[in-house]
Symmetry: C2
Subunit: 220 residues, 2 copies
């Protein structure tokens, strides 16, 4: 965890990964009208050590006060700002199959400032339809659409075989982020941010936990 | 990273999280007929330091040889065994909406030994149907089904409001693992393993990356 040139503490990827979890936990506390929380309680709720909590939050300017703990509203809001949640993002979804439709119907995204503007699909039977009041367009129309409409993020809900080729098209249209549900490691310019959702890896992590817990299973 | 009572090195959660990535990367190398790989190349492909690679793989008995590197087949197979992928798992899916159907149609899971046996839904219009040759049953039938059929893992593809209640029913039926797509923190016995897929958190991580990269967006 070194310092960057401008003196700001460099944040480890593990700490960044924990920020959305802090945000979710704090939002849950708000919902229960809890106004402040100690690093000990925060650590219990987050299932990490209290010293880790203090270290994490210190990176972001140390929001805690000795003997008082953290103000939940303030901390939630500050972490939200760090995560960029005080901004709005326009998202398009590539692929209007089951996964694309599930993403489109998800309740939480809009609430967090992610507005889904359109879906795209190669299947001509899908184009012209609407999903959750969001239009489905033909993939042929992608470039023209992106010239005329803003889109910050594209969710790739398409088969792995097509993911790279579509990513290249999206990068050419100056997309800022790709939310990649395919199993492919995308090769894109450094200026484009990629977040992978690896479902198979997640399932493997679960199978590891079951195996470690001594669940008795069939050999194959 | 301490030692456990039986002298085996305790593996950090971060190292465990990396195992499925190693597995995926090594499987990709196999597909390209690559027989061996140095920790340096492995580190480049995995985007982690070479010393981290050596440290990770040392936990699992050190599969590398000085000056030779790692045998890809052997390493892939050993990591597969650690992950429990030499066993088969039977999975049921709770919720036959878009997400449940997307999981059911996913190509990779069966190949990795995760067999999807059934879906369950409260919607009576869905029950009796088949998705990808997998039957959809009524939620009323869940307990009876689990008395008569094996299921190791249940994927929770249902609204967050119902996730805890369904998790309790599944735990009572001796499920071994829950693959939780809801945003709820499930409260289950320690003997049941939970793997959460946090889509909103993943999207927040992407928005953080875009913000850090200086993507210029609207304040809200």
């Amino acid at each position: 965890m070194g310092d960057t040139d401008d003196g700001k503490k460099k944040i480890s990827e593990a700490a960044i990964r924990r920020l959305p979890r802090y945000y979710r936990f704090l939002t849950e506390l708000q919902g229960r009208n809890i106004e402040r929380i100690s690093s000990k309680e925060l650590s219990r709720g987050m299932e990490i050590t209290a010293s880790q909590v203090r270290q994490d939050l210190n990176h972001f300017g140390g929001f805690g006060q000795q003997g008082y703990g953290y103000n939940v509203d303030y901390l939630q809001n500050e972490i939200g700002k760090i995560l960029g949640l005080n901004q709005t993002y326009t998202m398009i979804i590539i692929g209007a199959g089951n996964l694309g439709r599930a993403i489109c119907n998800h309740q939480n995204f809009n609430r967090r400032g992610f507005h889904i503007a359109a879906l795209f699909d190669i299947n001509r039977e899908m184009t012209g339809k609407q999903i959750n009041a969001t239009p489905v367009y033909s993939m042929d129309y992608l470039e023209e659409y992106l010239q005329e409409n803003r889109a910050d993020i594209a969710a790739l809900c398409i088969p792995s075989a097509h993911a790279q080729e579509v990513a290249v098209r999206l990068c050419a249209c100056k997309i800022k982020g790709l939310w990649n549900f395919s199993s492919v490691e995308l090769d894109v310019p450094k200026t484009v941010q990629v977040e992978n959702v690896r479902l198979t890896e997640s399932l493997m992590t679960l199978s590891f936990a079951i195996k470690e817990a001594g669940g008795d299973l069939d050999e194959r």
